[in-house]
Amino acid sequence: MEDKKLFSKNTGENIYHCIRCGLCLAHCPVYKEILLEEAAPRGKVQLSRCLEEGTLELNEEVKNAFFSTCLLCGSCVANCPSGVHGDHLFSGVRWRAKQKYGIDWKKKVMFQILANKWLMSKSAALGGWARRNFSGPGIEKKIKAGALSVDRIPPFNKKAFAETVQEVTAPKSGKAKAKVLYFHGCATNFVFGDIGNAVVDVLSKMGVEVTTPKDQGCCGLPVFLSGDRETSVNIIREALKIFARADVDAVLVDCGTCGAALKNEYPHLLKDLKELGENVTDEEIKAAELLSAKTMDVTVFIDAHKDWLPKLGGNGKKIKVTYHDPCHLVKGQKVSAQPRNILKSIPDVEYVEMAAAGDCCGGGGSFQVEHAETSAKITKRKIDNAEATGAQVVATCCPGCNVTISNHLDPAKGMKTMHPVQLLQMALNR
């Protein structure tokens, strides 16, 4: 395993375009807190080079640098003047680290669950049942999962969203103006069923036919970013089977991370693996490229077709709403205007921009559990900025950010987190 090349030629070329200018230090949320070169994207790119050139051995310390001081938020990629794809390099190193050191058994189990739809739905149901019956505010208040307070993690859906939604939802009236596939992802499926309902509701009121494939699964990004590329390839193949279709107008996602996975990571990963000698076919790469072209965030779709929306009502009571840009959406997919447009178009919403809205929330999926101290520092900045707006709602297009932010908001302020589509649904239903 060790004598395999570290990076594909394409990915490896990134190393030589890093001129060490250091501008990425200004954008990395982790570097901002830690202020050490290993926490900087530049440092990791240079370490990638040392590993590639053999002047440094991939040891525990190096592995930890790549896992504990990087959220893979993509801020560095979005701001590198030379266009270096640090994220490709870093996840490449994580892969090799996983091959050398294995993955923590808890994570291994978790990934196996994510990769297996049957296991996932059963585990979630069990977890939800267990939480409802055995847990309780008294117990949960005392438990923390890393930087997360367990009592403030939203409860699991009583039933998985996939089990409650129709496979095909027809437009509310008239002929379908467009036909879309809805990739709802794990979070909506098991925790944020309300968001899933809002997405389908709004789209059908817009005259769109929404197909929500029953047997869809995880996008695979959490698995992929942790270095378990082998497992993630299987997940990707499953997703391609269901979603890589030329006969739909779009594949919509309600999660920035799922969007980044489908739009950016699938094609890149498959190409890389093929080059490194893994068993990936050209057809699979083509399918990934097709899916990438069709994928868009639901807010992008809604904003592009805003004239399809029925009149938005209000009850005259304004609520202050601010917006947090999820990293995988704003940096990974360069989407920032559309969610804001939607919010500003709602009569009852008084939109207020928060400072550094595009800065990372510090969650990073499992990062906030495994590297609580660093995560909490980053999150604090986001919370301070959000609370400073005086808003009652922090809107965001990522369930991960949703969980992280809602977990740390001051309960006394009564603020809550929502997806912009939920606010839109409320306005449509007035």
């Binding site: 890093c18 001129i19 200018c21 202020l35 070169e37 440094l56 030379s82 266009g83």
Partner: protein, 462 residues
């Protein structure tokens, strides 16, 4: 000194967690943004002036060099430990200690990031003027060490004009104060000497900066030209007309293309050059001055002049300029940025010669320059994996320095000598000039504890 003893001694001063010694760390702190690479013996993170003083004392007693480091964004090798030693990392000494509005001064720790300082004083309506393009990442003491310039120095000067005082730890651990909040403190202009000394005279542990009230109005313009000469002539004519814009920046076609690919700010990719002009002051007469500038541009065959209508447009224009260096990394993997200065009127001549040098060595050269100051930045593009090319790059860089020195200019306008331009020092200084500088070094650091091998060429054997 034995490595174990060194680490033990340093750990006693700053604590074990603040001494880094692993192979990974030694690799990480060997480079900066230049082409130079060194290798420290260890990295130490002091948390206070006292710790800095103790570390330096220890280093001096044990003949270990000390190399200061902030964000490592300097372009001449100033923070790469080419002779080993302790990399003294200041990134965590980054507090803004005092915003003294009444006295128009801000006192900061060395690791504070320049743009953060500006943000903090901006809330009170004040500006710190020097704006190197690295300002969002660089530490303020790094700016001090190199005497950083930036796009606004035509009117407002460079770092040295805005650093009024500093707390400095000398080679033997003694802590002194140079300058202060007031002007004209009796004695030599030691703040003036410290700025631009590239970490070779003392470790700065506090800085006192000048802040100035915001001006009432600012007008930013982008002028687009079919030739570089037309742009340069516009600059000369603006100066002749007696105007002092805050900014007169130019870039050539190669750079424009790279900037557009990276940032999509709307620079026209078929223009030979663009000129960024900014005026500031009271709003009265600003429109007339703008009209005059536009008229001068037209007289010099400008294709188009765009005047920014609001802050967003203004920021877009600047984003294109500030990101210019890095953007050329899209053209070829690496660049060597030169930094010579010539008298302003000789800029077109210097640029023409740079083009010839590029042809001679078969290297593409992109140009960004502070047209108002005559400070050019030829960016020689190459791939460092090609050893032959790297060699030609160094030769080309030396020739560029030479032709500029011959025109009555200098070899470094703002990036410093470091390691990289040592060879060029004899082009502008005689042995006697350098001897005088060696006396300065000896006055501050007679035992050469600080950043050996930088700024001054090695003394020739008798």
């Amino acid at each position: 000194m034995e490595r174990e003893k060194m680490i033990e001694g340093l750990a006693k001063i700053v604590g074990k967690e603040d001494v880094m010694t692993s192979e990974m760390e030694l690799q990480l702190y060997g480079y900066d943004a230049s082409l130079n690479r060194g290798r420290p013996d260890c990295i130490v993170m002091p948390a206070s002036t006292e710790e800095v003083s103790k570390v330096v004392k220890f280093a001096r007693e044990n003949h270990i060099p000390v190399v200061a480091r902030g964000a490592g964004t300097n372009l001449s090798g100033g923070s790469s430990p080419t002779e080993g030693g302790i990399a003294l990392l200041f990134t965590r000494m980054n507090k803004i200690l005092e915003i003294d509005v009444e006295n128009q001064r801000v006192v900061v720790e060395p690791g504070a990031i320049t743009l953060d300082i500006k943000g903090a004083i901006g809330k009170y309506g004040y500006l710190y003027h020097p704006d190197p393009s690295s300002e969002k990442a660089t530490t303020i003491a790094g700016n001090l060490g190199e005497n950083a310039g930036g796009a606004h120095c035509f009117k407002y000067g460079v770092t040295s004009n805005h650093v009024l005082g500093a707390e400095v730890v000398l080679f033997d651990g003694e802590v002194i104060e140079v300058g202060g909040k007031s002007l004209d403190n009796p004695g030599f202009d030691l703040p003036g000497l410290m700025v631009g000394s590239e970490g070779t005279l003392g470790m700065v542990t506090k800085l006192t900066l000048r802040m100035m009230p915001k001006t009432e109005a600012v007008k930013t313009m982008l002028a687009i030209y079919e030739t570089i000469a037309d742009g340069a002539n516009t600059v000369s004519d603006i100066v002749k007309a007696g105007m002092i814009p805050t900014t007169l920046e130019m870039m050539d076609n190669l750079t424009i293309k790279a900037v557009e690919a990276a940032y999509h700010v709307g620079f026209p990719e078929d223009a030979a050059s663009i000129l960024l002009i900014e005026l500031d002051g009271l709003k009265d007469g600003m429109d007339r001055l703008t009209d005059e500038v536009v008229a001068i541009c037209k007289k010099n065959k400008v294709r188009e002049v765009r005047v920014a209508k609001n802050e967003a447009e203004r920021e877009k224009i600047w984003a294109g300029r500030k990101g210019a260096f890095g953007a050329v990394g899209r053209l070829r993997p690496n660049y060597l940025v030169n930094d010579p200065t010539v008298p302003r009127t000789r800029l077109p001549e210097a640029l023409a010669q740079v083009v010839e040098i590029g042809k001679k060595y078969n290297l593409p050269i992109a140009n960004v320059f502070h047209a108002g100051d005559g400070n050019l930045h030829p960016l020689i593009l190459f791939d460092e994996r090609d050893k032959d090319e790297l060699d030609r790059v160094h030769k080309a860089a030396f020739e560029i320095m030479k032709i500029c020195a011959d025109m009555g200019g200098t070899i470094s306008g703002e990036h410093g000598i470091g390691v990289e331009k040592l060879k060029g020092m004899p082009l502008i200084f005689s042995e006697r000039d350098i001897a005088a500088m060696r006396n300065v070094k000896k006055a501050f650091d007679p035992e050469s504890v600080y950043n050996p091998g930088k700024l001054l060429p090695a003394e020739k054997a008798a």
